[in-house]
Symmetry: none
Subunit: 200 residues, 4 copies
DNA sequence: GATGAATGAGTGTTCATTCAT
DNA sequence: AATGAATGAACACTCATTCAT
């Protein structure tokens, strides 16, 4: 059976933390909030995690591994993968839920300058995601769908930054169309530029 | 303009709040922190503001008006103004301080989904800033330095989003070069595209 | 005015701590107990002391300084002073109160192996008290009331140890006559031995 | 005698309790501490004892019976037995361990004013030990090694009190030589006095 | 016998807020 | 305007105890 036992309650706590974080926000998140979402006692949380910080570190890892799995599952030719990647970052469909996920991440990020461990765990994932995008661009160049002078690392940074910022600003003004609008702009002003035009 | 009496202590409290926020972060910000920075008592804060929230709302306005004044002070031809705008957003020189300002803003933004008043005040400013950038682009088109098919609103959104995201990701991984790198990418992949090429 | 301000509330907290300690014992002593005795809120205790430990350290100092003042006030010729010292240690009269004081001290002592700061503060006082007793014996030898071969330090140790132990055992079996009995034994088997016999 | 089944696990729990008590002290002693020392689960402790208090009562009995057996095993002529008794109370050799035992006892004693059952169990033992010492003195008088005017009960009280107090003060100031010093003083100022001098 | 999950009451501590001065 | 004392609710965390397995 292995040590998959970590899964049962551990996973439920992570999900409860997710819901609690979405509902109350990081600054107001309490162990009681999480316990309420879990419909278990506060004590149980401390039975499984030494402290709130420990629980949140575990939560960061949970959140990021979910996210990493998600983007790793993207298939297809490089240009389609890049589109799909942006699409998933933006999320038109299940707006509510994934928006909440990115908000949760944003809040944790906003805390990272004050918490070394948060920063370390978040940074690791940031690098992975950026490398993934850069790799897509690199594959695209190799396969001839992206122009040879496109810089994979730079494009990756710009794509990620603009999508991140779009979400942040979307949250700020409560305008859910913001990410989609930036996604379009990104396609028009950036992606289009690096695409090899077949008939021009 | 208005009751200038507001100026003296009020301004000092805003500055103290700024320092306290930079040092402790939103989630750990206490009235005592602010009072300590002010070198006055906690009670005084409540004499001037009915509650912590009220003080923070006032702080958002203070922060944004500072920011709005800053970008309003940019002079020169549209393409230079856009460069300068990005430059100030990025800040190469006084990294420490302005970085802190943007972090403070980010934290407040991360809270806005949980606080209607935060959101309203932040949204107002967001719109102003975006309109300012769009106006610069519009002027640039009129003056013939930007291509006629550039969309002012869309470019403004993309510029702001990518700069915002760059800072956020810079904070996440504690990499101060991130915003500068994205700034360059922005110039190369976006601004360059909409510039009217004089001799080509 | 001076910094005697420490006196007002500080003293009341010390007294409340004393009463709470007597009533509940160290192991069950809570900040709430102390607050209840003080008839003030728990928060106030933390306004005056950073932590429970800090409060207890202050309490040790308070207790010991009271005690040191008490024994320093003993007057008269050396042999009478020694008697009076033992008498006060034993206390026949106001049994209840002083017994409680010594119990409080005993509890704190029992904790000292687990708390460096407790130990340091208690040790300082222990030394002072022992030196005081030794000094009495030394004076007695000089003045010819104690035999020249009496060892001041050794006698002081024996006197203090037996009185301390008497109280401890008195507490153990709830027998209030124990200290008095040991006091007598001490006089008969120790003090008598070192007294210079005038006509024998 | 009785249900010998008690022996196996029961004894192991007692020993674990002893170690846990030595390491953490009474005030910080938890069922988890004991379970850790036992290398078994907390639940098991409650299987064997209805409550923590019940376990501690059993522990007092265990501790005292060990102690009583120890002093009962002393052999030889009365004056040697008295010396040996003091020696064992003091313990020069295995300082660490027996010191811990007496500390454990002291802590439990310090609790006895707040716990009737503790007090009763401790008092019973106190009486037994005191009677044992008094009996030694009485035997000594009968056998002519102690002076006829020595009062067995009084001497026993004084010996026990001073040794107890010596240990307490030794713990207080972290001075391990204290008990030995008092032991010497006891011999010189008390035991010597009641010894029948053969050539004088 | 023995465990691990789970609970709930209680702990020290924090903090926005109030108020007399 | 300004303070320091004081409060009360809430917080993270602890722990003896229970119970299904």
């Amino acid at each position: 059976m292995g040590n998959d036992e970590q899964s049962e309650t551990h996973a439920e706590i992570m999900e409860a933390t997710y819901r609690a974080l979405c509902e109350h926000g990081y600054a107001s998140l309490t162990m009681q909030n999480i316990a309420d979402e879990l419909e278990k006692s506060k004590g149980l949380l401390h039975y499984h995690f030494d402290s709130k910080e420990e629980l949140l570190i575990a939560f960061i890892d949970y959140l990021l591994s979910e996210f990493e799995q998600d983007i790793a599952s993207i298939e297809g030719p490089p240009d389609k993968k890049l589109d799909e990647f942006i699409e998933r970052f933006v999320v038109v469909a299940d707006a509510g839920d994934r928006q909440a996920l990115h908000l949760a991440l944003l809040e944790l990020r906003a805390q990272s300058p004050f918490n070394d461990r948060f920063r370390e765990h978040l940074a690791r994932s940031d690098t992975i995601v950026r490398d993934t995008v850069a790799e897509i661009v690199r594959d695209g160049i190799t396969q001839g769908v992206f122009r040879a002078d496109a810089e994979p690392e730079v494009v990756a940074q710009l794509v990620l930054a603009s999508m991140d910022g779009a979400r942040t600003r979307g949250l700020t003004i409560g305008d859910e169309t913001y990410p989609a609008a930036v996604s379009e702009a990104l396609n028009k002003y950036v992606i289009d530029d690096i695409l090899v035009k077949t008939n021009e």
